[in-house]
């Protein structure tokens, strides 16, 4: 086998791609810090039990290996679960709510991701733990919008939904867990013919039928959709979900962010642990959502931590890609600003010149190869460095 090859699904990045990625990560980090969030780092791999049951990523979508004592380890497929574990083990006595941000890689494989062959994904995000108010949901959404704007995106939508809206209908129809999964996957594909068939086969009638039939095509304008369901004869759970969305939307309006907000009540939660307002960010420049987040009030119970929480994860590579595809591309320069060549006896002077330029924010290379003047000029030229000093 070729020694230079990397395994399928992972790869090297360098040069402009790294600068772009750093730009995205830095923009998000700055905004997280400005919102008063503190950093948390968790290990890249954990025991399988942390992610193990049906609450987060299906086990066949994670990358597993075995440690020397025979325990199964899993490369972190999701930050939120790791952070819940970390909070339960170290931070549960800290003043609430906790505001945490993170940045790192998640790893996923398996059939569901066959269309996205990548296995290593850079993610940044935040978790707001210990607050169960619409203000907390709105804060995380406002932070998301601010971070995307800071990174340089303009044309995007922040699409809201609520996991209890569908859950309420599913419970009202008394569907089994398997049937509920089938219905969720039909709604997720907006497969209206399939939804009608499903309703016929499960004798779903009345308001529930009406909503399921129309929901896959009735999305977009937040005021219109929420207004329609605010006065609809809904079951208790779905009605509470609409009330919840109304509260969050009104706060975002007060923040003057409504122009970024849309709604799709047929949006199916991407993680089973979501329990309330969920959202994702979409932009024309990316075929996949660039952020996803939501409320997960029960996830912590797995770690004996009963705290309501909400959060968001940013898909760094997709955001970088979207920025790269925009017309007014960022000016990312990989080359150094200056290069200094020196004679051996002038090395001290050369180093001081380099230091003084560097302290002014210039990117300066100090040659280490003792090149002749001719070789030096050629070297600067092929590196595309304009300012060349000879000391």
């Amino acid at each position: 086998m070729n020694k230079l090859r990397t395994p399928a699904g992972v790869g090297d990045i360098y040069g402009k791609d790294c600068l772009l990625k750093a730009h995205t990560t830095d923009s998000i980090r700055e905004v997280c810090q400005q919102f008063g969030y503190g950093e948390i780092q968790t290990p890249a791999f954990e025991y399988l039990e942390v992610f193990g049951d049906d609450m987060s990523i299906p086990s066949d979508e994670s990358i597993k290996f075995i440690d020397t004592s025979g325990k199964v380890l899993v490369l972190r497929p999701d930050f939120t679960t790791s952070i819940s574990r970390a909070v339960a083990s170290h931070l549960s006595d800290k003043p609430l709510p906790l505001r945490l941000w993170y940045s790192g890689n998640v790893y996923r494989s398996g059939e569901t991701y066959k269309s996205a062959k990548k296995k290593e994904f850079a993610q940044s995000g935040v978790e707001l733990i210990g607050a169960n108010t619409p203000n907390a949901d709105a804060e995380v959404i406002a932070l998301t919008i601010t971070a995307l704007l800071r990174a340089g995106l303009e044309d995007f939508q922040l699409e809201l939904s609520h996991s209890d809206f569908l859950q309420g209908i599913i419970e009202d129809c008394k569907l089994s867990e398997d049937d509920a999964d089938t219905l969720r996957s039909l709604l997720d594909k907006k497969f209206s013919i399939g939804i009608e068939e499903f309703c016929d086969n499960h004798a779903i009638t009345g308001t529930n039928r009406e909503i399921l039939s129309e929901i896959s095509l009735f999305f977009g304008d937040c005021e219109e959709v929420l207004a329609k369901y605010t006065h609809a004869p809904l079951n208790e759970k779905s009605a509470a979900a609409i009330a919840d969305l109304n509260s969050v939307y009104n706060i975002l309006k007060a923040f003057k962010m409504e122009k970024y907000i849309t709604v799709d009540l047929g949006q199916v939660r991407s993680f089973r642990y979501y329990t309330g307002v969920i959202f994702r960010a979409l932009t024309t420049a990316s075929a996949f959502p660039i952020c996803g987040g939501g409320r997960y009030n029960t996830l912590g119970r797995r770690f004996d931590l009963d705290l309501p929480a909400t959060g968001v994860a940013f898909w760094i590579d997709r955001i970088s890609d979207a920025i790269c595809r925009m017309e007014n591309k960022l000016d990312l320069k990989t080359e150094a600003d200056a290069i200094i060549f020196s004679k051996e006896e002038n090395l001290s002077e050369a180093y001081h010149l380099a230091s003084s330029l560097r302290s002014k924010g210039k990117k300066v290379i100090l040659d280490v190869c003792n090149l002749s003047k001719e070789e030096a000029q050629h070297s600067a030229e092929i590196r595309n460095i304009r300012n060349v000093y000879f000391v």
Partner: protein, 216 residues
């Protein structure tokens, strides 16, 4: 205004789709002239039409290279892409079936594992998985009916339109997996970011085929 791109599955589905699109006033008749062009543009409506191999339509749509696609449900099921399947166009109707010698009717469970040949390996696997039946799967690329005749497999999973090819080769439909027809699929992000234009195109095509359907 940004161009919206519609991917059409080369062949009969593209021809039928073009007729509907032309009836709705879109300028895409050029597709019916047998040229070597792959991209056609309707400047007035800012639409681009691309002709691609059927099995690639869901891929173009998933990755957003096309916003909308028109393709058979067999391809959608087989490719399993992350897309919205919004409208049944009601043409290109046929069935996905398990076929084999009539003597096997009702006796598929007796073979363990059952040897299944198909172009549609994902559909075959999902179907027999859902029935908890162990199978041995053999991927073929054409003339699938030959497989049971040459003892390559016990049965096949394939599209049945009239059943003529089957009957002429002494085979029969043993089980129906699902009905098939042409569908409109939509990229998940485009559906949101270009909601009004896409809803308009998709909605008017839906209305048109349902009108045609009720007139027949």
């Amino acid at each position: 205004m940004k161009y919206l791109t519609i991917a059409l599955a080369k062949g009969r589905l593209a021809e039928l789709s073009v007729k509907i699109l032309m009836d709705l006033g879109y300028d895409c008749g050029e597709i019916l002239e047998k040229t070597r062009k792959l991209i056609f543009t309707d400047e007035e409506h800012k639409l681009k039409f691309i002709l691609v191999k059927a099995s690639d339509v869901p891929t173009y749509v998933e990755y957003g290279a096309a916003d909308i696609g028109i393709v058979g449900r067999d391809t959608i099921l087989e490719e399993g892409r992350n897309i919205y399947e919004m409208v049944d166009l009601k043409f290109g109707k046929c069935r996905m079936c398990v076929c084999g010698p009539a003597s096997l009717k009702g006796k598929l469970g007796e073979h363990s594992p059952l040897r299944v040949a198909s172009k549609y390996t994902n559909i075959a696997k999902d179907y027999f998985d859902s029935k908890d039946m162990p199978i041995e799967l053999i991927k073929l690329n054409g003339s699938v009916e030959l497989a049971p005749l040459t003892s390559l497999s016990d049965v096949i999973v394939d599209i049945v339109e009239t059943g003529k090819t089957l009957y002429e080769n002494g085979l029969d439909v043993l089980e129906e997996i699902c009905p098939l027809s042409a569908r409109i699929i939509v990229n998940r992000v485009s559906a949101k970011m270009e909601r009004e234009r896409i809803t308009h195109i998709v909605g008017s095509m839906k209305a048109k085929v349902h009108l045609n359907d009720s007139n027949n």
